[in-house]
Protein backbone atom coordinates (compact mmCIF):
# COMPACT_ATOMS: atom_id res chain seq x y z
CA UNK A 1 0.00 0.00 0.00
CA UNK A 2 2.41 2.66 -1.15
CA UNK A 3 0.13 4.68 -3.32
CA UNK A 4 0.94 8.16 -2.09
CA UNK A 5 4.26 9.05 -0.49
CA UNK A 6 4.87 12.41 1.11
CA UNK A 7 8.33 13.78 1.74
CA UNK A 8 8.02 15.40 5.15
CA UNK A 9 10.23 17.97 6.74
CA UNK A 10 11.19 18.84 10.27
CA UNK A 11 11.26 22.41 11.38
CA UNK A 12 12.30 23.62 14.81
CA UNK A 13 11.95 20.14 16.27
CA UNK A 14 8.42 19.46 15.02
CA UNK A 15 6.73 18.52 11.78
CA UNK A 16 6.81 21.48 9.40
CA UNK A 17 3.35 23.05 8.90
CA UNK A 18 3.83 22.37 5.17
CA UNK A 19 4.16 18.65 5.98
CA UNK A 20 0.83 18.74 7.83
CA UNK A 21 -0.74 20.28 4.71
CA UNK A 22 0.76 17.55 2.53
CA UNK A 23 -0.57 14.92 4.93
CA UNK A 24 -4.09 16.21 4.45
CA UNK A 25 -3.55 16.33 0.66
CA UNK A 26 -2.23 12.77 0.73
CA UNK A 27 -5.10 11.58 2.87
CA UNK A 28 -7.59 13.04 0.43
CA UNK A 29 -5.89 11.55 -2.65
CA UNK A 30 -5.56 8.13 -1.05
CA UNK A 31 -9.16 8.24 0.18
CA UNK A 32 -10.42 9.06 -3.27
CA UNK A 33 -9.06 5.86 -4.74
CA UNK A 34 -9.15 3.54 -1.78
CA UNK A 35 -5.38 3.43 -1.52
CA UNK A 36 -2.97 4.24 1.23
CA UNK A 37 -0.64 7.10 1.99
CA UNK A 38 2.68 7.19 3.75
CA UNK A 39 5.16 9.74 5.02
CA UNK A 40 8.93 9.74 4.61
CA UNK A 41 11.03 11.63 7.13
CA UNK A 42 14.75 12.08 6.55
CA UNK A 43 17.40 13.56 8.83
CA UNK A 44 20.02 12.70 11.40
CA UNK A 45 17.43 12.18 14.16
CA UNK A 46 13.73 12.24 13.32
CA UNK A 47 12.28 9.72 15.80
CA UNK A 48 10.30 12.25 17.79
CA UNK A 49 8.73 13.69 14.65
CA UNK A 50 7.99 10.19 13.34
CA UNK A 51 6.11 9.53 16.58
CA UNK A 52 4.23 12.79 16.09
CA UNK A 53 3.37 11.85 12.49
CA UNK A 54 1.75 8.47 13.20
CA UNK A 55 -1.30 10.13 14.73
CA UNK A 56 -2.05 11.85 11.43
CA UNK A 57 -3.14 8.53 10.02
CA UNK A 58 -0.63 7.50 7.37
CA UNK A 59 -0.35 3.75 6.84
CA UNK A 60 3.37 4.00 7.35
CA UNK A 61 5.88 6.54 8.52
CA UNK A 62 9.20 5.74 6.90
CA UNK A 63 12.09 6.92 8.99
CA UNK A 64 15.41 7.37 7.21
CA UNK A 65 18.07 8.43 9.69
CA UNK A 66 21.73 8.94 8.85
CA UNK A 67 24.32 11.16 10.51
CA UNK A 68 25.17 12.72 7.13
CA UNK A 69 21.57 13.92 6.72
CA UNK A 70 22.10 16.55 9.38
CA UNK A 71 21.18 19.85 7.75
CA UNK A 72 19.96 20.06 4.16
CA UNK A 73 22.80 19.08 1.85
CA UNK A 74 21.12 18.55 -1.51
CA UNK A 75 23.57 15.99 -2.97
CA UNK A 76 23.20 13.67 0.02
CA UNK A 77 19.47 14.22 0.46
CA UNK A 78 18.93 13.53 -3.22
CA UNK A 79 20.89 10.28 -3.08
CA UNK A 80 19.03 9.14 0.05
CA UNK A 81 15.64 10.13 -1.38
CA UNK A 82 16.34 8.35 -4.64
CA UNK A 83 17.22 5.16 -2.77
CA UNK A 84 14.15 5.49 -0.54
CA UNK A 85 11.89 5.89 -3.57
CA UNK A 86 13.36 2.79 -5.17
CA UNK A 87 12.63 0.82 -2.00
CA UNK A 88 9.17 2.19 -1.30
CA UNK A 89 8.14 2.43 -4.95
CA UNK A 90 5.29 4.93 -4.54
CA UNK A 91 2.79 5.64 -7.31
CA UNK A 92 2.60 9.30 -6.32
CA UNK A 93 5.26 11.41 -4.59
CA UNK A 94 4.43 14.80 -3.09
CA UNK A 95 6.83 17.42 -1.75
CA UNK A 96 6.34 20.95 -0.56
CA UNK A 97 7.19 23.71 -3.06
CA UNK A 98 9.87 25.16 -0.82
CA UNK A 99 13.64 25.36 -1.16
CA UNK A 100 13.98 21.63 -0.48
CA UNK A 101 11.29 20.50 -2.92
CA UNK A 102 12.33 23.06 -5.54
CA UNK A 103 15.85 21.64 -5.56
CA UNK A 104 15.23 17.92 -5.03
CA UNK A 105 12.10 17.66 -7.19
CA UNK A 106 13.54 18.30 -10.67
CA UNK A 107 16.77 16.43 -9.94
CA UNK A 108 14.93 13.39 -8.57
CA UNK A 109 12.45 13.39 -11.48
CA UNK A 110 15.43 13.27 -13.84
CA UNK A 111 17.07 10.40 -11.94
CA UNK A 112 13.85 8.39 -11.70
CA UNK A 113 13.02 9.19 -15.33
CA UNK A 114 9.60 10.54 -14.46
CA UNK A 115 7.86 13.89 -14.69
CA UNK A 116 7.31 16.52 -12.05
CA UNK A 117 4.79 19.35 -11.91
CA UNK A 118 5.89 22.16 -9.62
CA UNK A 119 3.93 24.58 -7.47
CA UNK A 120 0.57 22.76 -7.65
CA UNK A 121 -2.52 24.32 -6.12
CA UNK A 122 -4.84 21.34 -6.52
CA UNK A 123 -4.42 17.59 -6.93
CA UNK A 124 -6.92 14.91 -7.80
CA UNK A 125 -7.14 11.52 -9.45
CA UNK A 126 -8.51 11.25 -12.98
CA UNK A 127 -11.34 8.71 -12.66
CA UNK A 128 -10.76 7.41 -16.19
CA UNK A 129 -7.01 6.88 -16.30
CA UNK A 130 -6.33 6.72 -12.59
CA UNK A 131 -3.54 9.26 -13.15
CA UNK A 132 -2.74 12.21 -10.94
CA UNK A 133 -4.20 15.50 -12.18
CA UNK A 134 -1.79 18.28 -11.26
CA UNK A 135 -3.24 21.79 -11.31
CA UNK A 136 -0.79 24.65 -11.59
CA UNK A 137 -1.18 28.36 -12.29
CA UNK A 138 0.87 29.50 -15.29
CA UNK A 139 1.57 32.79 -17.06
CA UNK A 140 1.47 34.74 -13.89
CA UNK A 141 -1.70 33.06 -12.71
CA UNK A 142 -3.57 34.16 -15.82
CA UNK A 143 -4.16 30.58 -16.84
CA UNK A 144 -4.63 27.39 -14.95
CA UNK A 145 -3.09 24.31 -16.47
CA UNK A 146 -3.87 20.76 -15.50
CA UNK A 147 -1.06 18.32 -16.28
CA UNK A 148 -1.55 14.57 -16.59
CA UNK A 149 1.58 12.53 -17.18
CA UNK A 150 2.27 8.84 -17.29
CA UNK A 151 5.33 7.44 -15.51
CA UNK A 152 5.80 6.71 -11.83
CA UNK A 153 6.22 8.01 -9.31
CA UNK A 154 3.90 10.80 -10.43
CA UNK A 155 5.56 13.78 -8.83
CA UNK A 156 4.28 17.14 -7.69
CA UNK A 157 5.50 19.94 -5.47
CA UNK A 158 2.64 21.65 -3.66
CA UNK A 159 2.24 25.34 -2.92
CA UNK A 160 2.11 26.36 0.73
CA UNK A 161 -1.23 26.98 2.40
CA UNK A 162 -3.51 25.57 -0.29
CA UNK A 163 -4.43 22.53 1.79
CA UNK A 164 -5.63 22.82 5.37
CA UNK A 165 -3.20 21.20 7.81
CA UNK A 166 -3.98 17.67 8.92
CA UNK A 167 -5.34 17.17 12.44
CA UNK A 168 -4.28 14.21 14.56
CA UNK A 169 -6.87 11.43 14.66
CA UNK A 170 -7.53 8.01 16.11
CA UNK A 171 -5.90 5.96 13.36
CA UNK A 172 -2.26 5.24 14.09
CA UNK A 173 0.28 4.40 11.43
CA UNK A 174 3.24 2.10 11.72
CA UNK A 175 6.85 3.33 11.85
CA UNK A 176 9.18 1.59 9.42
CA UNK A 177 12.91 2.21 9.43
CA UNK A 178 14.63 2.32 6.08
CA UNK A 179 18.27 2.74 5.20
CA UNK A 180 20.24 4.52 2.53
CA UNK A 181 23.86 4.10 1.53
CA UNK A 182 25.31 7.55 1.36
CA UNK A 183 28.81 8.79 1.94
CA UNK A 184 30.79 12.00 1.71
CA UNK A 185 32.13 11.18 -1.77
CA UNK A 186 28.63 12.03 -3.08
CA UNK A 187 29.02 15.66 -2.07
CA UNK A 188 29.75 17.69 -5.19
CA UNK A 189 28.74 21.00 -3.68
CA UNK A 190 30.47 21.85 -0.44
CA UNK A 191 28.84 24.09 2.16
CA UNK A 192 31.19 26.81 3.42
CA UNK A 193 28.89 28.70 5.76
CA UNK A 194 25.25 29.46 6.46
CA UNK A 195 24.47 33.08 7.20
CA UNK A 196 21.17 33.95 8.86
CA UNK A 197 19.82 37.36 7.96
CA UNK A 198 17.03 39.51 9.20
CA UNK A 199 14.94 39.31 6.11
CA UNK A 200 11.52 40.67 5.46
CA UNK A 201 9.87 37.25 5.53
CA UNK A 202 6.86 38.37 3.53
CA UNK A 203 5.72 34.82 3.03
CA UNK A 204 5.13 34.56 6.78
CA UNK A 205 2.94 37.64 6.96
CA UNK A 206 -0.69 37.35 7.94
CA UNK A 207 -1.47 40.75 6.47
CA UNK A 208 0.52 42.57 3.75
CA UNK A 209 0.05 46.26 3.05
CA UNK A 210 1.62 46.84 -0.37
CA UNK A 211 2.29 49.96 -2.38
CA UNK A 212 3.11 50.61 -6.03
CA UNK A 213 3.62 53.32 -8.61
CA UNK A 214 0.33 54.95 -7.63
CA UNK A 215 1.85 56.13 -4.35
CA UNK A 216 3.65 58.74 -6.43
CA UNK A 217 6.56 59.16 -4.03
CA UNK A 218 8.66 57.31 -1.46
CA UNK A 219 6.86 59.08 1.39
CA UNK A 220 3.71 57.13 0.49
CA UNK A 221 5.20 54.14 2.29
CA UNK A 222 5.17 56.12 5.55
CA UNK A 223 1.40 56.27 5.35
CA UNK A 224 1.28 52.53 4.56
CA UNK A 225 3.45 51.90 7.62
CA UNK A 226 0.97 53.88 9.75
CA UNK A 227 -1.84 51.69 8.41
CA UNK A 228 0.24 48.58 9.14
CA UNK A 229 0.80 49.83 12.68
CA UNK A 230 -2.94 50.33 13.18
CA UNK A 231 -3.61 46.81 11.87
CA UNK A 232 -1.01 45.32 14.23
CA UNK A 233 -3.46 45.93 17.07
CA UNK A 234 -5.72 43.28 15.55
CA UNK A 235 -3.40 41.09 13.46
CA UNK A 236 -0.19 39.45 14.57
CA UNK A 237 2.10 39.64 11.57
CA UNK A 238 1.58 42.70 9.40
CA UNK A 239 4.24 43.59 6.84
CA UNK A 240 4.91 46.07 4.07
CA UNK A 241 5.04 44.82 0.48
CA UNK A 242 5.50 46.56 -2.83
CA UNK A 243 5.45 46.20 -6.59
CA UNK A 244 8.55 46.06 -8.76
CA UNK A 245 8.01 49.63 -9.90
CA UNK A 246 8.34 50.90 -6.32
CA UNK A 247 11.69 49.10 -6.03
CA UNK A 248 12.87 50.34 -9.43
CA UNK A 249 12.07 53.90 -8.37
CA UNK A 250 14.19 53.41 -5.27
CA UNK A 251 11.32 54.00 -2.85
CA UNK A 252 11.81 50.75 -0.93
CA UNK A 253 14.25 47.83 -0.74
CA UNK A 254 13.78 44.78 -2.95
CA UNK A 255 13.11 42.33 -0.10
CA UNK A 256 9.64 43.91 0.11
CA UNK A 257 8.84 43.05 -3.50
CA UNK A 258 5.90 40.78 -4.24
CA UNK A 259 5.66 38.92 -7.53
CA UNK A 260 7.52 36.77 -9.97
CA UNK A 261 10.88 38.37 -9.28
CA UNK A 262 10.09 38.99 -5.64
CA UNK A 263 8.32 36.86 -3.06
CA UNK A 264 5.28 34.72 -3.85
CA UNK A 265 2.81 35.09 -1.00
CA UNK A 266 -0.69 34.09 0.05
CA UNK A 267 -1.43 36.02 3.23
CA UNK A 268 -4.86 36.17 4.85
CA UNK A 269 -5.27 39.77 3.72
CA UNK A 270 -3.48 41.63 0.94
CA UNK A 271 -4.01 45.36 0.63
CA UNK A 272 -2.83 46.73 -2.71
CA UNK A 273 -2.43 50.49 -2.71
CA UNK A 274 -1.71 52.18 -6.03
CA UNK A 275 -0.75 48.88 -7.70
CA UNK A 276 -2.31 48.46 -11.13
CA UNK A 277 -1.64 44.73 -11.39
CA UNK A 278 0.97 43.63 -13.94
CA UNK A 279 1.00 39.88 -14.55
CA UNK A 280 4.29 39.44 -12.79
CA UNK A 281 2.90 41.09 -9.65
CA UNK A 282 -0.43 39.28 -9.69
CA UNK A 283 1.27 35.89 -9.83
CA UNK A 284 2.79 36.64 -6.47
CA UNK A 285 -0.39 37.53 -4.62
CA UNK A 286 -3.64 36.39 -6.29
CA UNK A 287 -3.84 33.45 -3.90
CA UNK A 288 -4.17 35.73 -0.90
CA UNK A 289 -7.33 34.83 1.02
CA UNK A 290 -8.81 38.34 0.85
CA UNK A 291 -7.64 41.12 -1.42
CA UNK A 292 -8.42 44.77 -0.89
CA UNK A 293 -7.51 47.20 -3.68
CA UNK A 294 -7.19 50.96 -3.37
CA UNK A 295 -6.62 52.75 -6.67
CA UNK A 296 -7.84 55.88 -8.42
CA UNK A 297 -8.29 54.01 -11.71
CA UNK A 298 -11.48 51.92 -11.56
CA UNK A 299 -10.43 50.01 -14.70
CA UNK A 300 -7.12 48.78 -13.32
CA UNK A 301 -6.45 45.05 -13.21
CA UNK A 302 -6.06 44.85 -9.47
CA UNK A 303 -9.81 45.30 -9.05
CA UNK A 304 -10.35 42.19 -11.19
CA UNK A 305 -8.71 40.01 -8.57
CA UNK A 306 -9.85 41.97 -5.51
CA UNK A 307 -12.67 41.20 -3.08
CA UNK A 308 -13.07 44.80 -1.97
CA UNK A 309 -12.33 47.91 -3.97
CA UNK A 310 -11.98 51.55 -3.12
CA UNK A 311 -11.66 54.07 -5.95
CA UNK A 312 -10.21 57.00 -4.05
CA UNK A 313 -6.96 58.83 -3.49
CA UNK A 314 -5.02 56.72 -0.98
CA UNK A 315 -3.90 59.85 0.84
CA UNK A 316 -7.51 60.49 1.77
CA UNK A 317 -8.90 57.03 2.41
CA UNK A 318 -6.00 55.60 4.42
CA UNK A 319 -5.96 58.26 7.18
CA UNK A 320 -9.76 57.90 7.43
CA UNK A 321 -9.40 54.13 7.63
CA UNK A 322 -6.72 54.36 10.33
CA UNK A 323 -9.04 56.55 12.35
CA UNK A 324 -11.88 54.04 12.08
CA UNK A 325 -9.57 51.15 12.98
CA UNK A 326 -8.37 53.04 16.06
CA UNK A 327 -11.96 53.72 17.10
CA UNK A 328 -12.90 50.09 16.71
CA UNK A 329 -10.03 48.69 18.76
Amino acid sequence: MNDVLILGKVKEGALDPRTLELLSAGKRLAGGKGGGFSLLLMGDAVSAQADEAVSHGPDKVYKLEHPLLRGFRPDLWLAALEQACRQINPRILLMSHDFVGMELGPRLACRLNTRLTTDCIALSIDPESGLLLRTKPVSGGNAISVFKCPGEPQMATVRAKVFDPSEPGAKKGEIVEIRARIDESMIKVESLEVVREDVVALDKAEVVVAGGAGLGEADGFELLEELAEALRKSFSNVMIGCSRVAVDKGWISSDHQVGLTGTMISPDIYIAVGISGAIQHLVGMTHSKKIIAINTDPACNMFKVADYGIVEDYEEIIPALIEKLEEAS
Binding site: F99, L116, S139, I144, L192, A278, Q280, K304, L325
Partner: protein
Protein backbone atom coordinates in the same frame (compact mmCIF):
# COMPACT_ATOMS: atom_id res chain seq x y z
CA UNK B 1 45.03 32.04 -17.02
CA UNK B 2 42.87 30.23 -19.53
CA UNK B 3 39.65 31.77 -20.66
CA UNK B 4 36.55 30.95 -18.61
CA UNK B 5 33.82 29.51 -20.80
CA UNK B 6 30.34 30.45 -19.63
CA UNK B 7 27.09 29.26 -21.20
CA UNK B 8 23.89 31.16 -20.44
CA UNK B 9 20.54 29.59 -21.36
CA UNK B 10 17.96 32.26 -22.11
CA UNK B 11 14.30 31.79 -23.00
CA UNK B 12 12.18 34.14 -25.03
CA UNK B 13 8.73 34.75 -23.52
CA UNK B 14 5.89 37.30 -23.79
CA UNK B 15 6.57 40.24 -21.48
CA UNK B 16 5.44 39.25 -17.95
CA UNK B 17 5.08 42.96 -17.16
CA UNK B 18 2.10 43.02 -19.54
CA UNK B 19 -1.23 43.92 -17.98
CA UNK B 20 -3.77 41.21 -17.28
CA UNK B 21 -6.11 42.55 -19.94
CA UNK B 22 -3.62 41.54 -22.66
CA UNK B 23 -3.85 37.88 -21.77
CA UNK B 24 -6.34 35.34 -23.05
CA UNK B 25 -6.51 31.59 -22.99
CA UNK B 26 -7.24 29.30 -25.93
CA UNK B 27 -8.76 26.33 -24.15
CA UNK B 28 -8.86 24.26 -27.35
CA UNK B 29 -5.33 24.76 -28.65
CA UNK B 30 -4.14 24.79 -25.04
CA UNK B 31 -2.28 28.05 -25.44
CA UNK B 32 -1.93 31.21 -23.42
CA UNK B 33 -2.11 34.17 -25.79
CA UNK B 34 -0.38 37.32 -24.64
CA UNK B 35 -0.68 40.44 -26.72
CA UNK B 36 2.68 41.83 -25.63
CA UNK B 37 6.19 42.09 -27.03
CA UNK B 38 8.59 39.18 -26.63
CA UNK B 39 11.35 39.63 -24.07
CA UNK B 40 14.05 37.54 -22.43
CA UNK B 41 12.69 35.80 -19.33
CA UNK B 42 13.63 37.97 -16.31
CA UNK B 43 15.63 35.37 -14.36
CA UNK B 44 17.59 34.51 -17.53
CA UNK B 45 18.51 38.19 -17.78
CA UNK B 46 19.76 37.95 -14.19
CA UNK B 47 21.87 34.95 -15.25
CA UNK B 48 23.35 36.94 -18.13
CA UNK B 49 24.12 39.83 -15.80
CA UNK B 50 25.99 37.44 -13.49
CA UNK B 51 27.99 36.17 -16.48
CA UNK B 52 28.84 39.66 -17.72
CA UNK B 53 30.06 40.62 -14.25
CA UNK B 54 32.36 37.59 -14.18
CA UNK B 55 33.68 38.62 -17.57
CA UNK B 56 34.59 41.99 -16.07
CA UNK B 57 36.68 40.22 -13.42
CA UNK B 58 38.33 37.54 -15.47
CA UNK B 59 38.95 36.65 -19.08
CA UNK B 60 35.77 34.93 -20.20
CA UNK B 61 33.73 33.97 -23.21
CA UNK B 62 29.95 34.03 -22.88
CA UNK B 63 27.80 31.88 -25.16
CA UNK B 64 24.03 32.36 -25.04
CA UNK B 65 21.74 29.51 -26.08
CA UNK B 66 18.07 30.12 -26.71
CA UNK B 67 15.68 27.31 -27.57
CA UNK B 68 12.22 27.46 -29.05
CA UNK B 69 9.99 26.72 -32.00
CA UNK B 70 10.96 30.12 -33.38
CA UNK B 71 13.31 32.46 -31.59
CA UNK B 72 13.53 36.12 -32.51
CA UNK B 73 17.13 37.09 -32.99
CA UNK B 74 16.05 40.72 -32.59
CA UNK B 75 15.03 39.98 -29.01
CA UNK B 76 18.04 37.80 -28.26
CA UNK B 77 20.62 40.15 -29.80
CA UNK B 78 20.17 42.16 -26.63
CA UNK B 79 22.39 39.55 -24.98
CA UNK B 80 25.22 40.46 -27.39
CA UNK B 81 24.69 44.14 -26.70
CA UNK B 82 24.93 43.39 -22.97
CA UNK B 83 28.28 41.64 -23.32
CA UNK B 84 27.76 38.08 -24.57
CA UNK B 85 30.28 36.96 -27.19
CA UNK B 86 28.24 34.41 -29.04
CA UNK B 87 24.54 33.72 -29.55
CA UNK B 88 23.20 30.43 -30.89
CA UNK B 89 19.51 29.93 -31.56
CA UNK B 90 18.15 26.40 -31.21
CA UNK B 91 15.11 26.50 -33.43
CA UNK B 92 12.86 23.75 -34.70
CA UNK B 93 9.14 23.07 -35.11
CA UNK B 94 9.85 20.03 -32.96
CA UNK B 95 10.86 22.29 -30.06
CA UNK B 96 7.33 23.62 -29.61
CA UNK B 97 5.86 23.13 -26.10
CA UNK B 98 8.55 20.72 -24.97
CA UNK B 99 8.39 19.53 -21.40
CA UNK B 100 11.22 20.41 -19.01
CA UNK B 101 13.03 17.10 -19.51
CA UNK B 102 13.11 17.34 -23.30
CA UNK B 103 14.05 21.01 -23.20
CA UNK B 104 17.00 20.08 -20.99
CA UNK B 105 17.86 17.17 -23.31
CA UNK B 106 17.96 19.45 -26.37
CA UNK B 107 20.04 22.04 -24.50
CA UNK B 108 22.40 19.29 -23.34
CA UNK B 109 22.82 18.14 -26.96
CA UNK B 110 23.68 21.69 -28.02
CA UNK B 111 26.10 22.12 -25.13
CA UNK B 112 27.90 18.89 -26.05
CA UNK B 113 28.49 20.34 -29.52
CA UNK B 114 30.26 23.36 -28.09
CA UNK B 115 33.97 23.52 -27.52
CA UNK B 116 33.85 22.75 -23.77
CA UNK B 117 32.54 24.86 -20.89
CA UNK B 118 33.27 25.74 -17.29
CA UNK B 119 29.99 27.14 -16.09
CA UNK B 120 26.37 26.87 -17.22
CA UNK B 121 23.96 29.50 -15.94
CA UNK B 122 20.17 29.42 -16.21
CA UNK B 123 17.45 31.50 -14.61
CA UNK B 124 15.83 29.88 -11.56
CA UNK B 125 12.60 29.51 -13.54
CA UNK B 126 11.02 30.87 -16.71
CA UNK B 127 8.57 33.73 -16.44
CA UNK B 128 5.81 32.01 -18.42
CA UNK B 129 5.37 28.44 -17.14
CA UNK B 130 7.16 29.05 -13.82
CA UNK B 131 8.26 25.45 -13.67
CA UNK B 132 11.82 25.88 -12.41
CA UNK B 133 13.06 22.52 -13.66
CA UNK B 134 15.13 22.87 -16.85
CA UNK B 135 18.32 24.14 -15.20
CA UNK B 136 18.55 21.46 -12.54
CA UNK B 137 17.58 18.65 -14.95
CA UNK B 138 20.25 19.90 -17.36
CA UNK B 139 22.80 19.72 -14.55
CA UNK B 140 21.75 16.16 -13.73
CA UNK B 141 21.93 15.11 -17.38
CA UNK B 142 25.44 16.47 -17.75
CA UNK B 143 26.34 15.01 -14.33
CA UNK B 144 27.50 18.38 -13.04
CA UNK B 145 27.51 19.82 -9.56
CA UNK B 146 24.21 21.75 -9.31
CA UNK B 147 23.71 24.91 -7.31
CA UNK B 148 20.30 26.58 -7.23
CA UNK B 149 19.04 30.08 -6.42
CA UNK B 150 22.33 31.96 -6.71
CA UNK B 151 22.39 35.56 -5.57
CA UNK B 152 26.15 36.04 -6.09
CA UNK B 153 28.65 34.03 -8.12
CA UNK B 154 32.44 34.21 -7.94
CA UNK B 155 35.23 32.20 -9.52
CA UNK B 156 38.08 30.94 -7.33
CA UNK B 157 40.85 28.81 -8.84
CA UNK B 158 38.85 26.32 -10.84
CA UNK B 159 35.89 26.43 -8.47
CA UNK B 160 32.71 28.41 -8.38
CA UNK B 161 31.69 29.97 -5.06
CA UNK B 162 28.03 30.88 -4.80
CA UNK B 163 25.87 32.66 -2.30
CA UNK B 164 22.70 30.62 -2.50
CA UNK B 165 19.46 32.13 -1.21
CA UNK B 166 17.77 30.49 1.76
CA UNK B 167 14.40 31.50 3.22
CA UNK B 168 16.15 33.22 6.14
CA UNK B 169 19.52 34.19 4.76
CA UNK B 170 22.04 32.55 2.48
CA UNK B 171 24.49 29.69 2.27
CA UNK B 172 27.94 30.04 0.78
CA UNK B 173 28.71 26.93 -1.26
CA UNK B 174 31.61 25.85 -3.45
CA UNK B 175 31.90 23.38 -6.32
CA UNK B 176 34.60 22.39 -8.78
CA UNK B 177 33.90 23.49 -12.32
CA UNK B 178 32.38 22.58 -14.67
CA UNK B 179 29.19 23.26 -12.75
CA UNK B 180 25.62 24.39 -13.27
CA UNK B 181 24.14 27.32 -11.38
CA UNK B 182 20.54 28.56 -11.45
CA UNK B 183 20.33 32.29 -10.85
CA UNK B 184 17.84 34.26 -8.76
CA UNK B 185 16.80 37.89 -9.06
CA UNK B 186 18.96 39.00 -6.10
CA UNK B 187 21.93 38.90 -8.50
CA UNK B 188 20.61 42.12 -9.96
CA UNK B 189 18.91 43.24 -13.13
CA UNK B 190 20.61 43.12 -16.50
CA UNK B 191 22.59 46.29 -17.05
CA UNK B 192 21.11 49.15 -19.01
CA UNK B 193 21.79 48.99 -22.71
CA UNK B 194 21.60 52.24 -24.61
CA UNK B 195 19.23 52.49 -27.53
CA UNK B 196 22.05 53.25 -29.92
CA UNK B 197 23.98 50.19 -28.86
CA UNK B 198 20.86 48.06 -29.09
CA UNK B 199 19.98 49.33 -32.58
CA UNK B 200 23.53 48.82 -33.74
CA UNK B 201 23.40 45.24 -32.57
CA UNK B 202 19.97 44.59 -34.10
CA UNK B 203 20.87 46.13 -37.44
CA UNK B 204 24.36 44.66 -37.41
CA UNK B 205 25.45 42.43 -40.24
CA UNK B 206 26.51 39.72 -37.85
CA UNK B 207 24.72 36.50 -38.67
CA UNK B 208 23.36 34.45 -35.80
CA UNK B 209 23.71 30.68 -36.13
CA UNK B 210 20.56 28.62 -35.82
CA UNK B 211 20.69 24.91 -35.05
CA UNK B 212 17.78 22.53 -35.71
CA UNK B 213 16.92 19.31 -33.92
CA UNK B 214 18.73 17.52 -36.74
CA UNK B 215 21.86 19.62 -36.23
CA UNK B 216 21.80 18.63 -32.57
CA UNK B 217 21.37 14.97 -33.40
CA UNK B 218 18.20 14.92 -31.30
CA UNK B 219 15.76 12.18 -32.23
CA UNK B 220 12.45 13.99 -32.61
CA UNK B 221 10.58 10.86 -31.59
CA UNK B 222 12.12 11.14 -28.15
CA UNK B 223 11.08 14.74 -27.56
CA UNK B 224 8.15 14.91 -25.16
CA UNK B 225 5.58 17.66 -25.22
CA UNK B 226 4.16 19.23 -22.09
CA UNK B 227 1.40 16.89 -20.94
CA UNK B 228 -1.37 19.46 -20.65
CA UNK B 229 -4.78 17.89 -20.05
CA UNK B 230 -6.69 21.16 -19.84
CA UNK B 231 -5.87 24.84 -19.89
CA UNK B 232 -8.37 27.39 -18.69
CA UNK B 233 -8.74 30.93 -17.56
CA UNK B 234 -8.39 31.11 -13.83
CA UNK B 235 -11.68 30.70 -12.04
CA UNK B 236 -12.59 34.09 -10.63
CA UNK B 237 -11.80 32.41 -7.30
CA UNK B 238 -15.23 33.42 -6.09
CA UNK B 239 -14.00 36.97 -6.23
CA UNK B 240 -16.09 39.74 -7.52
CA UNK B 241 -14.96 43.08 -6.34
CA UNK B 242 -17.34 44.86 -4.00
CA UNK B 243 -16.73 48.55 -4.51
CA UNK B 244 -17.25 50.79 -1.52
CA UNK B 245 -19.35 53.82 -2.29
CA UNK B 246 -20.28 57.14 -0.74
CA UNK B 247 -18.29 59.67 1.24
CA UNK B 248 -14.73 58.79 2.30
CA UNK B 249 -15.88 58.56 5.91
CA UNK B 250 -18.45 55.89 5.09
CA UNK B 251 -16.10 53.92 2.89
CA UNK B 252 -13.47 53.91 5.62
CA UNK B 253 -16.06 52.67 8.08
CA UNK B 254 -17.11 49.84 5.77
CA UNK B 255 -13.52 48.84 5.20
CA UNK B 256 -12.79 48.91 8.93
CA UNK B 257 -15.76 46.57 9.36
CA UNK B 258 -14.23 44.22 6.78
CA UNK B 259 -11.02 44.07 8.81
CA UNK B 260 -12.99 43.49 12.00
CA UNK B 261 -14.81 40.56 10.40
CA UNK B 262 -11.54 39.02 9.24
CA UNK B 263 -9.83 39.38 12.58
Amino acid sequence: MTELKIIVCAKQIPDPEAPLSDVSVDTVKLEVLVDAPQVISPFDENALEAAVRMKEETEAKITVLSLGKKVSDTVLRKTLAAGADELILLEDEAFEKLDSYSTAAALAAAIRKLDGYDLILTGRQAGDWDSGQVGLILGEMLELPCISLAREIRIEEGSVVVKKSLPDGYERVKARMPALVTVSNEVGELRYISRTKMLKMIQGARSIPSWSAGDLGVDQGHLRKMAIATLSSPPDMGRSCRFMKGPIEKQAEELAAVFKALR
